[in-house]
């Protein structure tokens, strides 16, 4: 998978985290993995179609997820319930949308599917047949990892 597909997700996360959470993510070291595996408790999977095809997995530690919702709502929540996981889904959706805007500047036009929420770290996600690159993003409230598995479709 090309590294040029990764940077848009870093830039988009910085934009969205600064705007919505007043946090500035720092980029960790990339690593390659054989499949998409949830590494933390709160996970959002988003499918990508178009010039690039594949999946994105946003993995948030529970404490980070709850802190993000506290920053946004100004209210403490204690569990990864429907409200909290939906809010994470929305944030991941906004980041993905912004990343696609960056990709479109390189003539890669893509669409995203609605976010799927997965709570827990059990197992791998069967939809992934391709290798993925994991982009760790360190913040003052924890580390979000975005696993990116994208490949160019034949007609692009």
């Amino acid at each position: 998978m090309k590294v040029e597909y990764i940077n848009p997700f870093f830039l988009a996360t910085v934009d969205v985290f600064k705007t919505m959470l007043s946090l500035e993510p720092r980029r960790g070291n990339l690593r390659a993995v054989e499949e998409l595996v949830p590494v933390s408790e709160a996970n959002v999977v988003i499918g990508v179609t178009g010039a690039l095809r594949g999946s994105l997995l946003y993995s948030f530690p529970k404490d980070m997820a709850l802190e993000m919702v506290y920053i946004m709502a100004g209210m403490r929540m204690n569990e990864l319930d429907v409200f909290v996981s939906s809010a994470l889904g929305e944030v991941a959706n906004i980041i993905s949308g912004n990343a696609l805007t960056y990709l479109s500047q390189n003539d890669l036009l893509c669409d995203i599917a609605p976010p799927q929420l997965i709570i827990g770290t059990n197992g791998s996600l069967s939809m992934s047949t391709e290798k993925a690159v994991v982009l760790p993003l360190h913040t003052d409230i924890g580390t979000l990892e975005i696993s990116i598995s994208l490949r160019a479709t034949s007609n692009s």
Partner: protein, 139 residues
């Protein structure tokens, strides 16, 4: 508190309405997330939702009028964003009218409204303030 000082745009009318809107969304989230049995909370959730829906329309229309008044160049695009959000809220209102109010659907909707509002006010709306400052005037 949901409202943050850095969400200010720099126009009093808009900032006051934004604060009211954040207060309403905050009450909505509270009503949605409280632990009391769902049946007991339904009426409050519905009332907050209705008020919010009306308030959004008033606020959008005032904000659009301000944009016209100051000659904001991206006014049409901004109005379209407002229209899309109004349509989304309207579709949700229709859905609960037909299918009733279910707890999970309302929790998902509350999360959507919260993230939309923050991203819009802290992102898109800040460009209006920036334009006003560049023009060197206040409202």
């Amino acid at each position: 508190m949901m409202w943050k000082e850095h969400y200010r745009v720099g126009a009093d009318l808009i900032d006051n309405q934004h604060q009211e809107l954040f207060k309403r969304v905050s009450s909505f989230i509270k009503a949605v997330q409280t632990k009391a049995p769902w049946e007991e909370r339904k009426a409050e959730v519905l009332a907050t939702l209705e008020f919010m829906q009306h308030y959004v329309i008033i606020h959008f229309s005032d904000e659009e009028a301000l944009q016209k008044e100051i000659g904001y160049p991206a006014a049409d695009q901004h109005t379209e964003i407002h229209e899309n959000f109004k349509a989304e809220v309207g579709a949700f209102a229709n859905k609960i009218e037909q299918e009733g109010l279910d707890e999970q659907g309302v929790q998902e909707f509350a999360a959507r409204v919260m993230t939309w509002l923050i991203m819009h006010v802290a992102g898109e709306d800040q460009k209006i303030g920036q334009f006003m400052r560049e023009q060197g005037g206040s409202q």
